[in-house]
Symmetry: none
Subunit: 203 residues, 4 copies
Amino acid sequence: MPAARKVQRPSKSPPARVRPDIVDAATRVFSERGYHAASMAEIADRVGMRKPSLYHHIRKKEDLLFAIHEQLIDELIEQTNAALEPTMTAPEQMAAVLRVSFDLIARHRDAVTVFLQERRAVSGARWNELVVKRDRYEQMVSGIIAEGTETKAFADLPAAIAARGVLGMVNWGYTWFDPKGAMTAEEIADVFVAIALRGLERR
Amino acid sequence: MPAARKVQRPSKSPPARVRPDIVDAATRVFSERGYHAASMAEIADRVGMRKPSLYHHIRKKEDLLFAIHEQLIDELIEQTNAALEPTMTAPEQMAAVLRVSFDLIARHRDAVTVFLQERRAVSGARWNELVVKRDRYEQMVSGIIAEGTETKAFADLPAAIAARGVLGMVNWGYTWFDPKGAMTAEEIADVFVAIALRGLERR
Amino acid sequence: MPAARKVQRPSKSPPARVRPDIVDAATRVFSERGYHAASMAEIADRVGMRKPSLYHHIRKKEDLLFAIHEQLIDELIEQTNAALEPTMTAPEQMAAVLRVSFDLIARHRDAVTVFLQERRAVSGARWNELVVKRDRYEQMVSGIIAEGTETKAFADLPAAIAARGVLGMVNWGYTWFDPKGAMTAEEIADVFVAIALRGLERR
Amino acid sequence: MPAARKVQRPSKSPPARVRPDIVDAATRVFSERGYHAASMAEIADRVGMRKPSLYHHIRKKEDLLFAIHEQLIDELIEQTNAALEPTMTAPEQMAAVLRVSFDLIARHRDAVTVFLQERRAVSGARWNELVVKRDRYEQMVSGIIAEGTETKAFADLPAAIAARGVLGMVNWGYTWFDPKGAMTAEEIADVFVAIALRGLERR
DNA sequence: TATGAATGAGGGTTCATTCAT
DNA sequence: TATGAATGAACCCTCATTCAT
């Protein structure tokens, strides 16, 4: 039932969206300085307002971090779901997952940087939902590998570890990908897909 | 001349080492909280001294960050050099590099976390030497792939990208490796070596 | 051309003035304790706010020192210019200069104390303008003496040294002038003017 | 009884002298930075020892300030006494006093700077003796003027104010005297003596 | 006498957040 | 919605001084 592999959407209605330009500014500042080193004043500055005005749109600095995480993980899940077809083989699914993931890194590098760098700050009741989505996503990737192993497409490998390996290969891109570099995001994704699939496939 | 691949050691004599227990405490606190969120008070606490006493051993908070980076990159280079033999083939060298790298992550996870998370803070004249070492290391890995491609051991892949991929696969371990987990560091390294080599090798 | 003797006004528009009560409090505290020994907490206390609130009005402690210097030198120059008439003889001009100067000491003793005691702290690009004004003022006094010498009103004396002498006589007042003392500021100024003019004049 | 004008020596035996090189270093550092901004570390540095070692020679930072003041006022009094002869007229005595004073400024400019700048720090029981000496010195100068007025050598002037005026003229020299300047200390003293005497003398 | 280590006290400054306007 | 003013908490760091060696 590959359809079951699609990551489930949350049922609750979404919380009021924070003004996009504010989230964008926060994303850039958090990415450049790190969440703790970033100051509300600099975020306000980039939005073109004064520091206290931000508090008409959010309640706490952490709200911004939350919004960034939420938007990113939601887009990741959405795009991934859109790319996965029930008829695909495990290698095909794996290729799709990696392509979507790297594409997201390329298109939202700042948000991904925040997402991957600031996991430390992510804790407490409010974040549970996000952590659940993140874990579910990883399990889905893990599931693809397990299925590939079952169908003899992939070699016998511990699925969870292998999943983390291929995700790490892609995720790490946030530290070095340069949109002005010699290779486009798609070309790089091709390389990673090639390495990952050959690395996983049974010979 | 594979010997030339060994990363060169710096010629200057090393600066006075900071007291190891202080660096250790800082490593743990920086890893847990992040450099900026970490407070000198907490580091002092863990060492068992009062906050100002730290300043007999360092001049600035940044010194601790520097010491952590320096020790880690130096150990990475040293261990890597020790593991590489001129007689090894490219795949053998790649395997050695990945094993050393993952071993370091497993043994010094906190330090690696600081090293990989806090690159933002790493800038300014003083850090140049470290950045050079880091780049040189990456180029060495890149060089192994290029050599493997020349000797037809590896498939035709852009070496720099492929190098970042396999390094990312391993580096990412700092976010999830659990020394108390089901698999040992060596077992995990075996999986990654298998995936990486098969992924790179020409079929 | 005695008109040329008037000290030139700066052309640039003045920077935003710091709240006067804050500058006043700082003036008193700096005067009583010295700039370095003075604490921002005490200044805040006297203004009736908490320490961090000060930083809504200034950026650094030094800003307060700068504001004090600037206001004082500007008032000195303004008052001096107002007192000098092109038709005055050199002795008349010298008398006017000394009276204005001692009057300023009497009216703004704390500010003058800071101005004369904390020259050490006065350095760096930002202070250049002030140093220029100070020097220009001294040169003007020197010029009066030189003119008096030319017109045979004053004896043959090295103008720069003589100027420093009479200015010292007056300036030194900041160390001992007591507004509650037996003599008023004007009476004291009379004495100094008498001594200075007779000391300078050709017999 | 002009002999009575000589400033009396203290009767108590002097306290143990602080090592001269330490006092010298403190003098320079206090003069350059100001007492409060000066650090014991810098003083120790210039002496060629470490900070805690200083405390084998003094008990508190203030001891250094005290020693500087004491040595200077003692030398001032000693030299002044040596220069005053009972047979001198008031103008001659005034000339001698001013010459000695300016000579001291020229020879010990750093110490004089500390002496004149750091009066604020001078308070408390221990300093009484010094304050007494300082006051006595001023009264002596005042007395010379009073005597000159009585003998009709000087004009009718309030002696205390006139004394502060001529002392200010000379003292102020610590702010601008340059041993490498165009005029020697003696030449400058000549100018000041000329101005002061003509300024005071009855015409 | 000299010093490495330590520390209490305090410094200036930053910052997320609140609130009255 | 916007913001000037304010502030509690906390920060990194300095320093005079003490003490064991």
